[in-house]
Protein backbone atom coordinates (compact mmCIF):
# COMPACT_ATOMS: atom_id res chain seq x y z
CA UNK A 1 0.00 0.00 0.00
CA UNK A 2 2.82 2.33 1.02
CA UNK A 3 4.68 1.49 -2.18
CA UNK A 4 1.57 2.25 -4.23
CA UNK A 5 1.11 5.61 -2.50
CA UNK A 6 4.75 6.48 -3.02
CA UNK A 7 4.51 5.49 -6.70
CA UNK A 8 1.37 7.62 -7.17
CA UNK A 9 3.01 10.55 -5.37
CA UNK A 10 6.05 10.23 -7.63
CA UNK A 11 3.89 10.16 -10.76
CA UNK A 12 2.02 13.21 -9.48
CA UNK A 13 5.25 15.12 -8.84
CA UNK A 14 6.51 14.28 -12.32
CA UNK A 15 3.18 15.36 -13.83
CA UNK A 16 3.29 18.65 -11.94
CA UNK A 17 6.86 19.20 -13.00
CA UNK A 18 5.94 18.53 -16.63
CA UNK A 19 2.92 20.86 -16.46
CA UNK A 20 4.93 23.65 -14.83
CA UNK A 21 7.78 23.31 -17.26
CA UNK A 22 5.30 23.47 -20.13
CA UNK A 23 3.69 26.59 -18.63
CA UNK A 24 7.16 28.04 -18.13
CA UNK A 25 8.09 27.38 -21.74
CA UNK A 26 4.86 28.91 -22.96
CA UNK A 27 5.58 32.01 -20.88
CA UNK A 28 9.09 32.32 -22.36
CA UNK A 29 7.84 32.07 -25.92
CA UNK A 30 4.97 34.49 -25.23
CA UNK A 31 7.24 36.99 -23.46
CA UNK A 32 7.24 40.26 -25.35
CA UNK A 33 10.56 40.85 -27.04
CA UNK A 34 12.40 43.94 -25.92
CA UNK A 35 14.85 45.56 -28.29
CA UNK A 36 16.90 48.75 -28.07
CA UNK A 37 17.60 51.22 -30.84
CA UNK A 38 20.63 53.48 -30.39
CA UNK A 39 21.21 56.49 -32.61
CA UNK A 40 24.07 59.00 -32.50
CA UNK A 41 22.19 62.23 -33.12
CA UNK A 42 18.44 61.98 -32.54
CA UNK A 43 17.66 65.58 -33.45
CA UNK A 44 18.83 65.08 -37.01
CA UNK A 45 15.66 64.81 -39.14
CA UNK A 46 17.13 61.67 -40.70
CA UNK A 47 16.99 59.91 -37.32
CA UNK A 48 13.59 61.39 -36.49
CA UNK A 49 12.20 59.80 -39.62
CA UNK A 50 13.97 56.53 -38.87
CA UNK A 51 12.51 56.52 -35.38
CA UNK A 52 9.10 56.54 -36.99
CA UNK A 53 10.13 53.45 -38.97
CA UNK A 54 11.46 51.63 -35.90
CA UNK A 55 8.39 52.50 -33.82
CA UNK A 56 5.80 51.48 -36.39
CA UNK A 57 7.53 48.20 -37.24
CA UNK A 58 7.96 47.30 -33.55
CA UNK A 59 4.31 48.06 -32.99
CA UNK A 60 3.38 45.86 -35.93
CA UNK A 61 5.51 42.96 -34.70
CA UNK A 62 4.47 43.38 -31.06
CA UNK A 63 8.00 44.17 -29.96
CA UNK A 64 8.79 46.61 -27.16
CA UNK A 65 11.30 49.24 -28.27
CA UNK A 66 13.63 51.31 -26.11
CA UNK A 67 15.11 54.31 -27.90
CA UNK A 68 18.46 55.83 -26.93
CA UNK A 69 20.04 58.96 -28.35
CA UNK A 70 23.73 59.70 -27.74
CA UNK A 71 22.95 63.41 -28.24
CA UNK A 72 25.61 64.02 -30.89
CA UNK A 73 28.37 62.23 -32.75
CA UNK A 74 30.95 63.44 -30.24
CA UNK A 75 29.28 61.59 -27.37
CA UNK A 76 30.97 58.25 -27.99
CA UNK A 77 31.34 57.57 -24.25
CA UNK A 78 27.66 58.17 -23.67
CA UNK A 79 26.74 55.61 -26.31
CA UNK A 80 29.23 53.10 -24.92
CA UNK A 81 27.61 53.58 -21.49
CA UNK A 82 24.16 53.02 -23.00
CA UNK A 83 25.32 49.79 -24.64
CA UNK A 84 26.92 48.53 -21.42
CA UNK A 85 23.73 49.27 -19.48
CA UNK A 86 21.70 47.38 -22.06
CA UNK A 87 23.97 44.35 -21.73
CA UNK A 88 23.38 44.39 -17.97
CA UNK A 89 19.65 44.70 -18.53
CA UNK A 90 19.61 41.55 -20.61
CA UNK A 91 18.06 43.13 -23.67
CA UNK A 92 16.83 40.75 -26.39
CA UNK A 93 18.48 42.60 -29.26
CA UNK A 94 20.09 45.87 -30.32
CA UNK A 95 19.99 48.08 -33.40
CA UNK A 96 22.98 50.37 -33.43
CA UNK A 97 23.87 53.51 -35.38
CA UNK A 98 27.40 54.05 -34.10
CA UNK A 99 28.71 57.43 -32.98
CA UNK A 100 32.21 56.36 -33.91
CA UNK A 101 33.33 53.57 -36.22
CA UNK A 102 36.46 52.80 -34.22
CA UNK A 103 35.50 53.98 -30.73
CA UNK A 104 32.59 51.56 -30.41
CA UNK A 105 34.50 48.43 -31.47
CA UNK A 106 35.36 47.09 -27.96
CA UNK A 107 31.79 47.36 -26.68
CA UNK A 108 30.35 45.95 -29.90
CA UNK A 109 32.79 43.01 -29.67
CA UNK A 110 31.58 42.43 -26.11
CA UNK A 111 27.93 42.42 -27.26
CA UNK A 112 28.70 39.93 -30.01
CA UNK A 113 30.67 37.66 -27.67
CA UNK A 114 27.71 37.70 -25.25
CA UNK A 115 25.57 36.51 -28.18
CA UNK A 116 23.18 39.43 -27.95
CA UNK A 117 21.63 39.81 -31.42
CA UNK A 118 22.85 43.01 -33.01
CA UNK A 119 22.09 44.87 -36.23
CA UNK A 120 24.32 47.75 -37.25
CA UNK A 121 22.13 50.27 -38.99
CA UNK A 122 24.00 52.42 -41.47
CA UNK A 123 26.59 54.00 -39.15
CA UNK A 124 29.20 51.32 -38.92
CA UNK A 125 31.31 49.98 -36.11
CA UNK A 126 34.50 48.48 -37.48
CA UNK A 127 34.28 45.21 -35.57
CA UNK A 128 36.00 42.29 -37.25
CA UNK A 129 33.50 39.82 -35.81
CA UNK A 130 30.56 38.77 -37.98
CA UNK A 131 27.57 40.99 -37.42
CA UNK A 132 24.35 41.86 -39.24
CA UNK A 133 24.50 45.11 -41.15
CA UNK A 134 21.94 47.17 -43.02
CA UNK A 135 23.78 49.93 -44.79
CA UNK A 136 23.51 52.86 -47.10
CA UNK A 137 26.21 52.95 -49.70
CA UNK A 138 28.10 56.01 -48.53
CA UNK A 139 30.48 56.00 -51.47
CA UNK A 140 27.57 55.98 -53.90
CA UNK A 141 25.83 58.80 -52.00
CA UNK A 142 28.97 60.92 -52.30
CA UNK A 143 29.26 60.08 -55.96
CA UNK A 144 25.63 60.99 -56.67
CA UNK A 145 26.26 64.45 -55.24
CA UNK A 146 29.47 64.75 -57.21
CA UNK A 147 27.81 63.69 -60.47
CA UNK A 148 25.06 66.30 -60.07
CA UNK A 149 27.50 69.08 -59.18
CA UNK A 150 30.11 68.24 -61.83
CA UNK A 151 27.41 68.06 -64.49
CA UNK A 152 25.89 71.40 -63.52
CA UNK A 153 29.25 73.11 -63.29
CA UNK A 154 30.23 71.52 -66.61
CA UNK A 155 33.35 70.10 -65.00
CA UNK A 156 34.77 73.39 -63.79
CA UNK A 157 34.57 75.25 -60.48
CA UNK A 158 35.33 75.29 -56.75
CA UNK A 159 33.23 72.97 -54.59
CA UNK A 160 32.97 72.85 -50.82
CA UNK A 161 32.24 69.48 -49.25
CA UNK A 162 30.81 69.41 -45.72
CA UNK A 163 31.05 65.69 -44.95
CA UNK A 164 30.06 66.06 -41.28
CA UNK A 165 31.87 64.59 -38.28
CA UNK A 166 35.17 62.96 -39.24
CA UNK A 167 34.88 59.96 -36.90
CA UNK A 168 31.73 58.67 -38.57
CA UNK A 169 32.34 55.89 -41.11
CA UNK A 170 29.47 56.96 -43.36
CA UNK A 171 30.85 60.51 -43.57
CA UNK A 172 34.24 59.14 -44.56
CA UNK A 173 32.63 56.95 -47.23
CA UNK A 174 30.53 59.79 -48.63
CA UNK A 175 33.58 62.04 -48.74
CA UNK A 176 35.61 59.34 -50.47
CA UNK A 177 32.81 58.84 -52.99
CA UNK A 178 32.68 62.53 -53.80
CA UNK A 179 36.41 62.99 -54.11
CA UNK A 180 37.03 59.83 -56.17
CA UNK A 181 34.48 60.98 -58.73
CA UNK A 182 35.49 64.64 -58.76
CA UNK A 183 39.18 63.88 -59.23
CA UNK A 184 38.44 62.76 -62.77
CA UNK A 185 37.62 66.39 -63.56
CA UNK A 186 40.75 68.51 -63.23
CA UNK A 187 38.65 71.68 -63.47
CA UNK A 188 36.86 70.83 -60.22
CA UNK A 189 38.63 72.04 -57.09
CA UNK A 190 37.38 70.33 -53.92
CA UNK A 191 37.64 71.93 -50.47
CA UNK A 192 36.73 69.71 -47.51
CA UNK A 193 35.64 71.00 -44.09
CA UNK A 194 34.80 68.42 -41.42
CA UNK A 195 32.26 69.90 -39.02
CA UNK A 196 29.70 68.86 -36.42
CA UNK A 197 26.30 68.11 -37.91
CA UNK A 198 24.58 71.33 -36.84
CA UNK A 199 23.10 74.25 -38.79
CA UNK A 200 25.25 76.92 -37.11
CA UNK A 201 28.43 74.95 -37.88
CA UNK A 202 27.35 74.66 -41.51
CA UNK A 203 26.50 78.34 -41.76
CA UNK A 204 29.71 79.56 -40.11
CA UNK A 205 31.91 77.33 -42.24
CA UNK A 206 30.31 78.26 -45.55
CA UNK A 207 30.52 81.96 -44.64
CA UNK A 208 34.23 81.64 -43.94
CA UNK A 209 34.95 79.62 -47.06
CA UNK A 210 33.05 82.12 -49.19
CA UNK A 211 35.55 84.77 -48.09
CA UNK A 212 38.56 82.61 -48.84
CA UNK A 213 37.08 81.36 -52.12
CA UNK A 214 34.70 83.96 -53.57
CA UNK A 215 34.58 81.77 -56.67
CA UNK A 216 32.78 79.01 -54.78
CA UNK A 217 30.25 77.37 -57.08
CA UNK A 218 28.74 74.51 -55.07
CA UNK A 219 28.33 73.04 -51.59
CA UNK A 220 27.73 69.34 -50.86
CA UNK A 221 26.30 68.60 -47.41
CA UNK A 222 26.14 65.42 -45.33
CA UNK A 223 23.00 66.09 -43.26
CA UNK A 224 19.80 68.17 -43.17
CA UNK A 225 21.07 70.54 -40.41
CA UNK A 226 24.28 71.20 -42.33
CA UNK A 227 22.28 71.72 -45.53
CA UNK A 228 20.01 74.34 -43.95
CA UNK A 229 23.04 76.13 -42.44
CA UNK A 230 24.81 76.15 -45.81
CA UNK A 231 21.75 77.59 -47.56
CA UNK A 232 21.46 80.37 -44.96
CA UNK A 233 25.08 81.31 -45.56
CA UNK A 234 24.55 81.36 -49.32
CA UNK A 235 21.46 83.55 -48.89
CA UNK A 236 23.39 85.95 -46.65
CA UNK A 237 26.25 86.21 -49.15
CA UNK A 238 24.02 88.07 -51.58
CA UNK A 239 24.22 85.29 -54.15
CA UNK A 240 21.14 84.73 -56.29
CA UNK A 241 19.27 81.44 -56.31
CA UNK A 242 21.34 78.88 -58.17
CA UNK A 243 24.54 80.97 -58.26
CA UNK A 244 25.93 78.57 -55.69
CA UNK A 245 24.55 75.04 -56.03
CA UNK A 246 23.66 73.35 -52.76
CA UNK A 247 23.18 69.59 -52.72
CA UNK A 248 21.99 68.06 -49.47
CA UNK A 249 21.05 64.84 -47.80
CA UNK A 250 17.51 63.67 -47.11
CA UNK A 251 14.47 65.89 -47.13
CA UNK A 252 12.60 67.36 -44.19
CA UNK A 253 9.91 70.04 -44.25
CA UNK A 254 12.42 72.92 -44.00
CA UNK A 255 14.58 71.54 -46.78
CA UNK A 256 11.56 70.96 -48.97
CA UNK A 257 10.59 74.62 -48.62
CA UNK A 258 14.13 75.66 -49.54
CA UNK A 259 14.05 73.39 -52.59
CA UNK A 260 10.68 74.70 -53.75
CA UNK A 261 12.01 78.26 -53.39
CA UNK A 262 15.07 77.39 -55.46
CA UNK A 263 17.77 77.64 -52.80
CA UNK A 264 18.44 73.92 -52.57
CA UNK A 265 19.10 72.34 -55.95
CA UNK A 266 19.16 68.63 -55.14
CA UNK A 267 19.24 66.13 -52.33
CA UNK A 268 20.28 62.50 -52.12
CA UNK A 269 17.55 60.27 -50.74
CA UNK A 270 17.08 56.72 -49.65
CA UNK A 271 14.04 54.98 -48.21
CA UNK A 272 15.37 55.39 -44.69
CA UNK A 273 12.05 54.72 -42.95
CA UNK A 274 11.77 51.45 -44.83
CA UNK A 275 15.42 50.84 -43.93
CA UNK A 276 14.57 51.24 -40.22
CA UNK A 277 11.67 48.82 -40.61
CA UNK A 278 13.91 46.31 -42.31
CA UNK A 279 16.45 46.66 -39.47
CA UNK A 280 13.74 45.73 -36.95
CA UNK A 281 12.62 42.79 -39.07
CA UNK A 282 16.21 41.55 -39.40
CA UNK A 283 16.78 41.80 -35.67
CA UNK A 284 13.59 40.01 -34.72
CA UNK A 285 14.35 37.19 -37.16
CA UNK A 286 17.87 36.95 -35.73
CA UNK A 287 16.50 36.78 -32.17
CA UNK A 288 14.15 33.98 -33.20
CA UNK A 289 16.93 32.19 -35.04
CA UNK A 290 15.15 32.49 -38.38
CA UNK A 291 17.63 34.62 -40.21
CA UNK A 292 19.64 33.20 -43.04
CA UNK A 293 22.51 34.91 -44.85
CA UNK A 294 23.19 37.44 -46.38
CA UNK A 295 24.38 39.23 -43.29
CA UNK A 296 24.83 42.47 -45.20
CA UNK A 297 21.82 44.32 -46.56
CA UNK A 298 22.36 47.39 -48.71
CA UNK A 299 19.68 49.88 -49.68
CA UNK A 300 19.22 52.00 -52.79
CA UNK A 301 19.73 55.72 -53.28
CA UNK A 302 18.26 58.32 -55.57
CA UNK A 303 18.58 62.01 -56.24
CA UNK A 304 15.67 64.45 -55.97
CA UNK A 305 15.53 67.88 -57.58
CA UNK A 306 12.83 70.55 -57.67
CA UNK A 307 11.52 68.99 -60.87
CA UNK A 308 11.03 65.55 -59.34
CA UNK A 309 9.93 66.75 -55.89
CA UNK A 310 6.25 66.09 -56.49
CA UNK A 311 6.75 62.86 -58.39
CA UNK A 312 8.76 60.54 -56.16
CA UNK A 313 7.24 57.90 -53.91
CA UNK A 314 7.54 59.21 -50.35
CA UNK A 315 6.27 56.08 -48.63
CA UNK A 316 9.68 54.88 -47.52
CA UNK A 317 11.12 58.25 -46.59
CA UNK A 318 8.45 60.52 -45.11
CA UNK A 319 6.52 60.16 -41.88
CA UNK A 320 2.97 61.51 -41.42
CA UNK A 321 2.70 65.06 -40.12
CA UNK A 322 0.53 64.06 -37.19
CA UNK A 323 3.23 61.75 -35.81
CA UNK A 324 5.16 63.23 -32.81
CA UNK A 325 2.60 65.93 -32.10
Amino acid sequence: MKKKTAFLAGVLVICFALVFSLIGNTQVSAKQLEIAVLVPNGVDPYFTAKRYGYETECEKLGVKMLFYDAGGYANVNKQIGQLEDLMQRGIDGIILGATSAKGTVPVVDKIISKRIPLVIDNLDSFTKKPVLRIMKNGVLVGQLRAVYIVEHLKGKGTVLVLPGPSAVSLCQDEHRGFVTYAKHFPGIKVITEWTPSSPDAGMKTVEGILQAHPDLKAVACFSPPLTVGAVRAVQASGARKGDIIVVGQMLDAGMETLMRKGWLQATVMCDHIEMAREAVRMLVKEIKGELKPPLYHQIDHYLITKDTLDRFDRKGSTYPKEWRK
Binding site: G42, E207, Q211, A212, P224, R232, A236, G238, T257, R324
Partner: protein, 314 residues
Protein backbone atom coordinates in the same frame (compact mmCIF):
# COMPACT_ATOMS: atom_id res chain seq x y z
CA UNK B 1 67.55 102.68 -23.47
CA UNK B 2 64.30 102.87 -21.52
CA UNK B 3 60.95 103.42 -23.11
CA UNK B 4 59.45 106.78 -22.07
CA UNK B 5 56.10 105.15 -21.30
CA UNK B 6 55.74 101.87 -19.44
CA UNK B 7 53.10 99.68 -21.09
CA UNK B 8 50.83 97.67 -18.83
CA UNK B 9 50.83 94.41 -20.81
CA UNK B 10 48.27 92.82 -18.52
CA UNK B 11 45.84 95.46 -19.77
CA UNK B 12 46.94 96.02 -23.33
CA UNK B 13 48.48 92.64 -24.15
CA UNK B 14 45.34 91.05 -25.50
CA UNK B 15 44.15 94.06 -27.56
CA UNK B 16 47.65 94.31 -29.02
CA UNK B 17 47.67 90.59 -29.80
CA UNK B 18 44.24 90.97 -31.37
CA UNK B 19 45.41 93.72 -33.74
CA UNK B 20 48.55 91.79 -34.64
CA UNK B 21 46.33 88.81 -35.40
CA UNK B 22 44.12 90.95 -37.68
CA UNK B 23 47.19 92.15 -39.56
CA UNK B 24 48.62 88.64 -39.97
CA UNK B 25 45.37 87.22 -41.32
CA UNK B 26 44.97 90.17 -43.68
CA UNK B 27 48.48 89.63 -45.03
CA UNK B 28 47.79 85.91 -45.54
CA UNK B 29 44.50 86.59 -47.31
CA UNK B 30 43.34 90.19 -47.92
CA UNK B 31 39.76 88.88 -48.19
CA UNK B 32 39.89 88.54 -44.40
CA UNK B 33 39.67 92.31 -43.97
CA UNK B 34 37.00 92.79 -46.63
CA UNK B 35 33.81 94.59 -45.65
CA UNK B 36 31.72 91.49 -46.28
CA UNK B 37 33.87 89.33 -44.02
CA UNK B 38 33.89 91.96 -41.29
CA UNK B 39 30.10 92.19 -41.45
CA UNK B 40 29.55 88.45 -41.20
CA UNK B 41 32.19 87.97 -38.51
CA UNK B 42 30.85 90.77 -36.34
CA UNK B 43 27.40 89.26 -36.77
CA UNK B 44 28.71 85.97 -35.35
CA UNK B 45 30.65 87.94 -32.75
CA UNK B 46 27.54 89.82 -31.59
CA UNK B 47 25.81 86.54 -30.74
CA UNK B 48 28.85 85.23 -28.89
CA UNK B 49 29.31 88.56 -27.10
CA UNK B 50 25.85 88.30 -25.56
CA UNK B 51 26.50 84.77 -24.33
CA UNK B 52 29.97 85.59 -23.04
CA UNK B 53 28.59 88.66 -21.22
CA UNK B 54 26.06 86.43 -19.49
CA UNK B 55 28.79 84.05 -18.43
CA UNK B 56 30.84 87.02 -17.24
CA UNK B 57 28.08 87.98 -14.80
CA UNK B 58 28.13 84.49 -13.32
CA UNK B 59 31.94 84.39 -13.14
CA UNK B 60 32.12 87.85 -11.55
CA UNK B 61 29.91 86.61 -8.72
CA UNK B 62 32.33 83.70 -8.23
CA UNK B 63 29.97 81.29 -9.92
CA UNK B 64 29.59 79.65 -13.30
CA UNK B 65 26.63 79.00 -15.57
CA UNK B 66 26.89 75.60 -17.22
CA UNK B 67 23.27 75.67 -18.37
CA UNK B 68 23.78 78.38 -20.98
CA UNK B 69 24.12 75.95 -23.90
CA UNK B 70 20.99 73.98 -23.11
CA UNK B 71 19.07 77.18 -22.34
CA UNK B 72 20.03 78.36 -25.83
CA UNK B 73 18.65 75.17 -27.33
CA UNK B 74 15.46 75.57 -25.31
CA UNK B 75 15.04 79.15 -26.47
CA UNK B 76 15.49 78.08 -30.08
CA UNK B 77 12.67 75.53 -29.73
CA UNK B 78 10.46 77.73 -27.51
CA UNK B 79 10.77 80.69 -29.88
CA UNK B 80 9.71 78.80 -32.99
CA UNK B 81 6.95 76.93 -31.11
CA UNK B 82 5.62 80.20 -29.70
CA UNK B 83 5.76 81.88 -33.10
CA UNK B 84 3.50 79.14 -34.50
CA UNK B 85 0.88 80.29 -31.97
CA UNK B 86 1.59 83.93 -31.15
CA UNK B 87 3.22 85.30 -34.27
CA UNK B 88 6.80 86.51 -34.78
CA UNK B 89 7.06 89.32 -32.23
CA UNK B 90 5.11 87.98 -29.25
CA UNK B 91 6.48 84.50 -29.93
CA UNK B 92 10.05 85.76 -29.87
CA UNK B 93 9.52 87.52 -26.55
CA UNK B 94 7.91 84.41 -25.10
CA UNK B 95 10.87 82.29 -26.24
CA UNK B 96 13.39 84.63 -24.64
CA UNK B 97 11.41 84.75 -21.40
CA UNK B 98 11.42 80.95 -21.25
CA UNK B 99 15.20 81.06 -21.20
CA UNK B 100 15.35 83.84 -18.60
CA UNK B 101 13.06 81.80 -16.39
CA UNK B 102 15.61 78.98 -16.32
CA UNK B 103 18.20 81.46 -15.04
CA UNK B 104 15.79 82.64 -12.36
CA UNK B 105 15.36 79.04 -11.19
CA UNK B 106 19.15 78.58 -11.24
CA UNK B 107 19.50 81.65 -9.04
CA UNK B 108 16.86 80.42 -6.60
CA UNK B 109 18.54 77.01 -6.32
CA UNK B 110 21.92 78.60 -5.64
CA UNK B 111 20.83 81.46 -3.39
CA UNK B 112 18.04 79.91 -1.34
CA UNK B 113 18.86 76.19 -1.35
CA UNK B 114 22.62 76.66 -1.15
CA UNK B 115 23.39 74.35 -4.08
CA UNK B 116 26.85 75.18 -5.51
CA UNK B 117 26.55 77.02 -8.85
CA UNK B 118 28.42 74.33 -10.76
CA UNK B 119 25.94 71.66 -9.60
CA UNK B 120 22.78 73.73 -9.84
CA UNK B 121 23.53 74.86 -13.39
CA UNK B 122 24.74 71.40 -14.38
CA UNK B 123 21.45 69.99 -13.13
CA UNK B 124 19.57 72.63 -15.09
CA UNK B 125 21.58 71.70 -18.19
CA UNK B 126 20.23 68.14 -18.03
CA UNK B 127 16.69 69.15 -17.03
CA UNK B 128 16.36 71.64 -19.87
CA UNK B 129 17.88 69.26 -22.45
CA UNK B 130 15.51 66.53 -21.34
CA UNK B 131 12.45 68.75 -21.36
CA UNK B 132 13.09 70.11 -24.84
CA UNK B 133 13.78 66.67 -26.28
CA UNK B 134 10.63 65.27 -24.70
CA UNK B 135 8.65 68.23 -26.02
CA UNK B 136 10.01 68.11 -29.56
CA UNK B 137 10.66 64.39 -29.77
CA UNK B 138 13.97 65.47 -31.27
CA UNK B 139 12.27 67.09 -34.23
CA UNK B 140 13.76 70.19 -35.82
CA UNK B 141 11.14 72.93 -36.03
CA UNK B 142 10.86 74.66 -39.38
CA UNK B 143 8.24 75.90 -41.79
CA UNK B 144 7.18 79.24 -40.39
CA UNK B 145 4.78 81.23 -42.50
CA UNK B 146 6.54 83.54 -44.97
CA UNK B 147 5.45 86.61 -43.01
CA UNK B 148 6.67 85.29 -39.66
CA UNK B 149 9.89 84.01 -41.18
CA UNK B 150 10.55 87.37 -42.79
CA UNK B 151 9.99 89.20 -39.51
CA UNK B 152 12.07 86.75 -37.51
CA UNK B 153 14.90 86.63 -40.04
CA UNK B 154 15.32 90.40 -39.85
CA UNK B 155 16.57 90.08 -36.27
CA UNK B 156 19.28 87.59 -37.18
CA UNK B 157 20.06 88.29 -40.80
CA UNK B 158 18.84 91.85 -41.38
CA UNK B 159 20.90 95.01 -41.74
CA UNK B 160 20.46 98.59 -40.59
CA UNK B 161 22.50 100.49 -43.13
CA UNK B 162 25.81 98.63 -43.37
CA UNK B 163 25.53 97.14 -39.88
CA UNK B 164 23.97 93.76 -39.08
CA UNK B 165 20.96 93.97 -36.75
CA UNK B 166 22.43 91.67 -34.05
CA UNK B 167 25.48 93.95 -33.89
CA UNK B 168 23.29 97.01 -33.21
CA UNK B 169 21.46 95.14 -30.45
CA UNK B 170 24.75 93.85 -29.02
CA UNK B 171 26.20 97.38 -28.90
CA UNK B 172 23.14 98.75 -27.09
CA UNK B 173 23.04 95.84 -24.66
CA UNK B 174 26.82 96.08 -24.18
CA UNK B 175 26.59 99.73 -23.11
CA UNK B 176 23.70 98.90 -20.81
CA UNK B 177 25.64 96.07 -19.17
CA UNK B 178 28.73 98.26 -18.85
CA UNK B 179 26.64 100.92 -17.13
CA UNK B 180 25.05 98.36 -14.81
CA UNK B 181 28.36 96.87 -13.75
CA UNK B 182 30.21 100.15 -13.42
CA UNK B 183 27.68 102.63 -12.09
CA UNK B 184 24.84 100.84 -10.33
CA UNK B 185 24.63 99.42 -6.84
CA UNK B 186 23.74 96.01 -8.28
CA UNK B 187 26.93 96.03 -10.35
CA UNK B 188 29.14 96.92 -7.40
CA UNK B 189 27.46 94.28 -5.28
CA UNK B 190 28.32 91.62 -7.88
CA UNK B 191 32.03 92.55 -7.68
CA UNK B 192 31.92 92.57 -3.88
CA UNK B 193 30.27 89.17 -3.68
CA UNK B 194 32.74 87.78 -6.19
CA UNK B 195 35.69 89.17 -4.27
CA UNK B 196 34.59 88.03 -0.83
CA UNK B 197 31.14 86.56 -0.31
CA UNK B 198 31.55 86.14 3.46
CA UNK B 199 32.57 89.75 4.00
CA UNK B 200 29.73 90.90 1.76
CA UNK B 201 27.29 88.90 3.83
CA UNK B 202 28.62 90.40 7.07
CA UNK B 203 28.37 93.86 5.52
CA UNK B 204 24.65 93.24 5.01
CA UNK B 205 24.60 92.93 1.23
CA UNK B 206 21.45 91.27 -0.16
CA UNK B 207 23.49 88.36 -1.49
CA UNK B 208 20.56 86.10 -2.29
CA UNK B 209 18.77 88.72 -4.32
CA UNK B 210 21.94 89.59 -6.22
CA UNK B 211 22.68 85.93 -6.98
CA UNK B 212 19.16 85.37 -8.31
CA UNK B 213 19.51 88.44 -10.53
CA UNK B 214 22.99 87.41 -11.74
CA UNK B 215 21.82 84.02 -13.00
CA UNK B 216 18.65 85.51 -14.48
CA UNK B 217 20.77 88.01 -16.42
CA UNK B 218 23.17 85.25 -17.49
CA UNK B 219 20.32 83.15 -18.89
CA UNK B 220 18.60 86.19 -20.39
CA UNK B 221 21.72 87.12 -22.33
CA UNK B 222 22.23 83.51 -23.48
CA UNK B 223 18.57 83.55 -24.55
CA UNK B 224 19.09 86.70 -26.57
CA UNK B 225 22.10 85.12 -28.27
CA UNK B 226 20.02 82.04 -29.03
CA UNK B 227 17.21 84.20 -30.34
CA UNK B 228 19.44 86.00 -32.86
CA UNK B 229 20.95 82.70 -33.97
CA UNK B 230 17.52 81.08 -34.33
CA UNK B 231 16.31 84.12 -36.26
CA UNK B 232 19.27 83.81 -38.61
CA UNK B 233 18.65 80.12 -39.24
CA UNK B 234 14.85 80.49 -39.13
CA UNK B 235 14.60 77.10 -37.49
CA UNK B 236 14.32 75.61 -34.03
CA UNK B 237 17.16 73.16 -33.50
CA UNK B 238 17.13 71.09 -30.29
CA UNK B 239 20.94 71.10 -29.99
CA UNK B 240 21.57 74.64 -31.09
CA UNK B 241 23.50 75.70 -28.00
CA UNK B 242 25.62 72.60 -27.57
CA UNK B 243 28.87 74.02 -28.89
CA UNK B 244 28.43 77.48 -27.40
CA UNK B 245 28.99 76.82 -23.69
CA UNK B 246 32.69 76.13 -24.15
CA UNK B 247 33.04 79.28 -26.25
CA UNK B 248 31.16 81.30 -23.61
CA UNK B 249 33.43 80.27 -20.75
CA UNK B 250 36.50 80.39 -22.99
CA UNK B 251 35.62 83.86 -24.27
CA UNK B 252 35.05 85.26 -20.80
CA UNK B 253 38.30 83.86 -19.40
CA UNK B 254 40.27 84.76 -22.50
CA UNK B 255 39.17 88.37 -22.21
CA UNK B 256 40.49 88.54 -18.65
CA UNK B 257 37.50 87.78 -16.44
CA UNK B 258 38.80 85.80 -13.51
CA UNK B 259 37.43 82.32 -12.90
CA UNK B 260 37.87 83.12 -9.19
CA UNK B 261 35.36 85.96 -9.24
CA UNK B 262 35.41 89.72 -8.72
CA UNK B 263 37.58 90.64 -11.71
CA UNK B 264 36.51 91.34 -15.25
CA UNK B 265 33.60 92.98 -17.03
CA UNK B 266 31.95 93.79 -20.32
CA UNK B 267 35.10 95.10 -21.98
CA UNK B 268 36.86 91.82 -21.18
CA UNK B 269 33.87 89.88 -22.53
CA UNK B 270 34.02 91.88 -25.75
CA UNK B 271 37.74 91.34 -26.16
CA UNK B 272 37.48 87.63 -25.48
CA UNK B 273 34.71 87.04 -27.95
CA UNK B 274 36.36 89.17 -30.64
CA UNK B 275 39.55 87.16 -30.35
CA UNK B 276 37.71 83.84 -30.57
CA UNK B 277 35.46 84.83 -33.47
CA UNK B 278 38.15 86.52 -35.56
CA UNK B 279 40.69 83.78 -34.78
CA UNK B 280 38.25 81.11 -35.96
CA UNK B 281 37.24 83.10 -39.04
CA UNK B 282 40.83 84.05 -39.85
CA UNK B 283 41.94 80.43 -39.68
CA UNK B 284 39.11 79.37 -42.04
CA UNK B 285 39.88 82.18 -44.47
CA UNK B 286 43.59 81.31 -44.31
CA UNK B 287 42.79 77.73 -45.30
CA UNK B 288 43.83 76.08 -42.01
CA UNK B 289 42.24 72.63 -41.64
CA UNK B 290 39.33 72.05 -39.26
CA UNK B 291 41.35 69.85 -36.92
CA UNK B 292 44.25 72.29 -36.61
CA UNK B 293 41.78 75.14 -36.11
CA UNK B 294 40.15 73.52 -33.11
CA UNK B 295 43.53 72.73 -31.60
CA UNK B 296 44.72 76.32 -32.03
CA UNK B 297 41.60 77.80 -30.42
CA UNK B 298 41.92 75.30 -27.57
CA UNK B 299 45.55 76.23 -26.97
CA UNK B 300 44.68 79.95 -26.93
CA UNK B 301 41.97 79.35 -24.29
CA UNK B 302 44.30 77.21 -22.15
CA UNK B 303 47.02 79.86 -22.31
CA UNK B 304 44.50 82.51 -21.26
CA UNK B 305 43.35 80.39 -18.30
CA UNK B 306 46.98 79.87 -17.33
CA UNK B 307 47.46 83.64 -17.48
CA UNK B 308 44.48 84.08 -15.14
CA UNK B 309 45.95 81.61 -12.64
CA UNK B 310 49.45 83.17 -12.78
CA UNK B 311 48.05 86.68 -12.34
CA UNK B 312 46.15 85.54 -9.27
CA UNK B 313 49.27 83.98 -7.74
CA UNK B 314 51.31 87.12 -8.37
Amino acid sequence: MKLPVRIDWSKFGLPAAFFVMLIIFTVINPAFFSARNMIQTTRQGAILFLIVSGQTFALLARGIDLSQGSVMSLVSIATISSIYVLGAYAGSIAGILFGAMCGFINGMLIAFLGIPPILATLGMLFVVSGVELVYTGGVTLTNLSDIDQGRLFWFGGGMIGPVPVPVIFAIIIGFLLYYILKYTLFGRQIYLIGTNADASSLAGLPIKRVIVLVYTVSALLASLGAFFLTARLSMGFPQLGEAWLVLAIGGAVLGGTSVFGGKGGVWEALLGCLVIVFLDNGLIVSGVSTFAREAIIGVVIIVACLGSVIKRRV
